[in-house]
């Protein structure tokens, strides 16, 4: 039995220490070890983006990242978007513009959109499409997702 390792990971501003097997994936760490099930497992093969989170500010697929790679790092998940009971403008916009149907892709979509708007606060529709190219949605056809991101960008520019 390979030895376990101790990791310290800060998730949404809260410090967690766990003893884990090195093969534990970051997504399993989030869901099983610390109980944050907002991050979804879609394909589990690096393609769909449902498991998207940020690690030290970088957008990553947490099914394609070992939890030990996040040791000492900061992770932000969909649970970290809401602040003091207030939804993030992206969350509000997804709700207002029907940017989701079944909601399975939504946590990953929100994290990818947030990362996009941090780099490019007023993206064109084309840039939005490119920004979420790593996130698949089987339901919406993307039209309303793009509308929602566009609306959130406008709103966030306004504040």
């Amino acid at each position: 039995m390979p030895e376990s390792v101790v990791v310290d990971v800060n998730v949404n501003g809260v410090a967690y220490q766990r003893e884990i097997e090195p093969r534990l994936l970051l997504v399993e760490f989030l869901r099983e070890e610390i109980g944050l099930t907002g991050t979804h497992i879609g394909c589990d093969t690096s393609y769909c983006g449902a498991c998207t989170v940020t690690l030290n500010g970088r957008l990553v697929k947490s099914c394609t990242c070992l939890a030990v790679q996040a040791d000492g790092g900061e992770v932000c998940t969909v649970e970290g978007l809401e602040q003091n009971g207030e939804l993030h403008p992206l969350q509000e916009a997804f709700s207002e513009h029907h940017g989701l149907q079944c909601g399975y892709c939504t946590p990953g979509m929100l994290m990818a959109s947030k990362s996009l708007l941090e780099e490019n606060p007023s993206p064109s529709r084309e840039e939005i499409r490119k920004g979420i190219a790593g996130n698949l949605c089987r339901c919406t056809g993307y039209v309303n997702i793009i509308k929602a991101i566009d609306a959130a960008a406008v709103k966030m520019q306004g504040v």
Binding site: R23, S46, L59, T64, V68
Partner: protein
Amino acid sequence: MYPAPFRYHRPEDLPAAIKLLSRFGDDAKVLAGGQSLIPMMKLRMGDIAEVIDIGRLSGLSNIEVRESTLCIGALATHAKIAASELAAGIPALVEAAAGIADKQVRSMGTIGGGLSVADASGDWPTCLRGLNASVVIVGAAGSRKVPISDFVVDAYATCLKSDEIVTEIQVPLPDANTSSAYVAFKRAAAAFPTCSVGVQLTLENNICQQVSLVLGCAGPTAVVSAEAEAQLQGKEINSETLRAAAQTIVAASDPPPDARGSAVFKRAMLETLVVEAGERALARCRGEAVNGGHRYA
């Protein structure tokens, strides 16, 4: 899906990493960004007992110019290269980096990893071959520098020994008359290209002084053709001369029919992409700003 159990090592520096590799030999694999290794381990491909995480080694992700050579640390991510002002001097590099997968994969995956995987459809082996890059390798026996043409020896096979690590990729900086382009045809962002083409061109008074053409996804390793290049040397570059050279290099290639397309489709696509990349490189040689980007299905 979990990888099979393994032992995890996070060496402090490069010598420590090499010591671990020497100790464990073929049981060990280095982990850079993990964007190829982790999916492979989840599919239980290979027998990997020891994982040596080099992802945090310092000094291996710099991008800098030394002696008219662009030196890219093996751990530089695709995202970092795509955004690098220094790399922007070699448009093909930026086009390859920015077109790999999606933002998530680009933010973790590294040039050293992409090259070492030596996937016949991988963007780095193709792009870097067209730019005549060299690869700096450090191992227990010291360091060596090999031309890219000797680094990739077959599909998924490199000249790396089990105790060796790629530390740097060196790309000669082009002179004022030289420019490049790299174009792929892809079915989706998060997918390897179906076909890809790199062109580097040196132009004087509209006449081609030097050219390098390379095809990806068109055989076990990147395809080059001295005959096709000779066809362009000393000639004016235009869509006709490019088309003729494209036909020659495509005839020398062997694209495998697979789920991404038949061989006939790929040959036609490769030919079109050679002309497109050639025209883009040509425009850049003339000082025109041309936006890059791949073709998507």
